[in-house]
């Protein structure tokens, strides 16, 4: 009897296991290109989102089906305070709407039936069916004990589903975080850039089912030094995915780089771009014309300078294209950028402005000229 039961259990488990997925590039859903008209020229404006608390940080941005831009960030008395919540604001007709709290520790605790102390790092993405997805991290203590949660809205952020918890790590499901938006895959699946920072600092590419919660698989991004917060773009002309990562740890260093070669079905480390990084988040975007845009703090001295860098050769070489912010005071902070190219072709950059509020800059691609 026990032999029979064990054999039956083995067979049923093998039957129910998910099959090995097909190559990634065949399943990537590319973002819709613009409408063919040239985007407005010479645009470079800065505005601020409505202030929501003493401290605001870690904005994420996406475009909804009707062309509305949605932005989420977390805000409270300070980062990691129990009163911090995730806020959402919508950009319509040149105006940001009054921000609304969409995720709090208490609400997440009630939804997931488990203790939650803090929330942070929201990530927004519009899926292939037009629903608005939100992933965000929660923790019972510091960020290294975090887990990822997911909510979905089918009415452009008016109402949200209950939060659900992703299971991503073997040690009490601790220490998987999210910062950058996913790539969309066929069948409504997602390739979500995640990272781990409990004992080691490394990036991961996590494949999610169309429900946004079920983890179907993940791959560790190789690195020989601490790296965090991968930002991933597809390079269809090369059959590759490119991930750039924030340098972790205290020592000064460079941004990290990994590539996923479909031909080899694995991630491999690539020589890092020669861009300093003061242990600060970066954002990577592939423009409609194939150029790559990187928002980062290119100074080992701190987050006082925020720039856009550009690559015209799929990430092999990089040049500074625009200085977005620079302060004489190296203690000032312009950090945690998020990038989006809207359907008109304009580039939207949101970022933390001195930890006080979220700044929004709109830039037309024509003014991004790699410096000599």
């Amino acid at each position: 009897m026990p032999f029979f039961l064990f054999a039956l259990a083995l067979l049923l488990a093998a039957y129910s296991a998910y099959p090995t997925p097909p190559p990634l590039s065949s399943r990537l859903v590319l973002n819709p290109a613009n409408d063919g008209n040239a985007p407005p020229a010479n645009v470079n404006t800065r505005s601020f989102l409505p202030k929501t608390g003493l401290s605001s940080h870690a904005a994420s941005i996406t475009e909804l089906a009707g062309g509305t831009i949605a932005c989420a960030w977390f805000s409270g008395s300070r980062e990691g305070a129990p009163d911090a919540a995730v806020y959402l604001s919508l950009y319509r007709s040149g105006q940001w709407s009054t921000p609304r709290q969409i995720a709090t520790p208490r609400q997440t605790q009630n939804d997931t039936l488990r203790f939650v102390r803090i929330v942070g790092n929201p990530v927004l993405s519009a899926d292939t069916k037009g629903s608005l997805r939100l992933w965000y991290v929660t923790s019972i203590g510091g960020w290294s004990a975090s887990a990822i949660n997911h909510m979905v809205s089918i009415d452009n952020g008016e109402t949200w589903s209950k939060a659900g918890r992703l299971v991503t790590a073997p040690f009490f499901n601790m220490s998987t975080l999210v910062r950058m938006p996913p790539l969309l895959l066929a069948g409504g699946q997602f390739l979500l850039p995640t990272y781990h920072e409990l004992a080691t600092h490394h990036g991961e590419a996590t494949r999610l089912a169309s429900d946004g919660i079920t983890v179907l698989g993940k791959n560790r991004l190789p690195s020989d030094r601490p790296l965090l917060q991968p930002s991933i773009v597809s390079l269809p002309e090369k059959g590759e995915l490119l991930a750039l990562l924030r340098k972790g740890g205290r020592a000064p260093g460079l941004i990290g780089a990994d590539v996923f070669l479909d031909s080899e079905s694995k991630w491999t480390a690539r020589n890092p771009p020669p861009i300093p990084n003061p242990n600060s988040s970066i954002a990577l975007l592939r423009l409609n014309d194939g150029r790559l845009l990187l928002a980062c703090n290119p100074s080992a001295a701190g987050r006082y300078m925020l720039c856009l860098w550009m690559s015209v050769d799929g990430g092999s070489t990089w040049r500074e294209a625009l200085q977005v912010e620079k302060s004489e005071n190296t203690g000032d902070e312009f950090s945690y950028p998020a990038l989006l190219q809207d359907r008109e072709g304009l580039i939207h950059l949101v970022y933390t402005w001195k930890r006080e509020k979220i700044a929004h800059r709109i830039i037309s691609p024509d003014i991004l000229q790699p410096a000599g």
Binding site: R114, V167, N219
Partner: protein, 192 residues
């Protein structure tokens, strides 16, 4: 997710109730433990602080228990055995071996992450089949302990679709580590 969330709460409450009433001076109550243990189990599930139960609080810290842990906790509660039965000892050897591979590589600075194997686990199932049949030739009861997590995986009783999460968690690994390595080492030191 409602079923999986309830199952997770059930696991945390069962762990605490069974652990408390498996303490030596309470274990002597034998079957008279069942009612107070049941009451404690229910009390742990009652919403207390901001609508959160004590089981929910614990679940926030330790996550969802593996099926192996639950099976061991419940069998040790209903069928206490001193010393450990041989099938359980052999199960703990498998847990220890699996945990050493899983936690060392998943949490360490290595390029290999065995946790990834649990998503498409056919190789893991093959290893489990060989290990199970070989180590159960003299103790076939072990196969029940292995079959239950596999059936739970088939039924997706937990929120995870990773086979590792059904077979092992840090609690059962820590228990196996203590029972198989720490306690014998302390005894050896005492006698030498």
């Amino acid at each position: 997710m409602i079923f999986q969330d309830c199952w997770g709460l059930f696991g945390s409450a069962a762990l605490v109730s069974a652990a408390v009433f498996s303490l030596p001076w309470l274990k002597r109550w034998n079957s008279r433990r069942y009612w107070p243990a049941g009451l404690l189990f229910v009390a742990l599930l009652l919403p207390l602080i901001h609508g959160l139960s004590l089981a929910g609080f614990l679940r926030g810290v330790i996550g969802d228990l593996s099926i192996t842990t639950l099976v061991l906790v419940l069998t040790s509660f209903f069928f206490p055995s001193e010393p450990l039965s041989e099938p359980v000892r052999r199960l703990l050897i498998l847990v220890l071996a699996g945990g050493l591979v899983l936690y060392t590589f998943s949490l360490g600075p290595f390029q290999i992450d065995p946790y990834e194997w649990g998503y498409q686990p056919r190789v893991m199932l093959l290893v489990l089949a060989v290990a199970g049949f070989l180590s159960a030739r003299r103790h076939p009861t072990l196969l029940y302990y292995l079959a239950v997590p596999l059936l739970a995986y088939f039924l997706r009783m937990s929120a995870s679709v990773n086979l590792w999460d059904y077979l092992i968690d840090p609690l059962v690994f820590g228990y196996a580590f203590c029972v198989l390595l720490i306690v014998p080492a302390l005894r050896l030191r005492k006698t030498s």
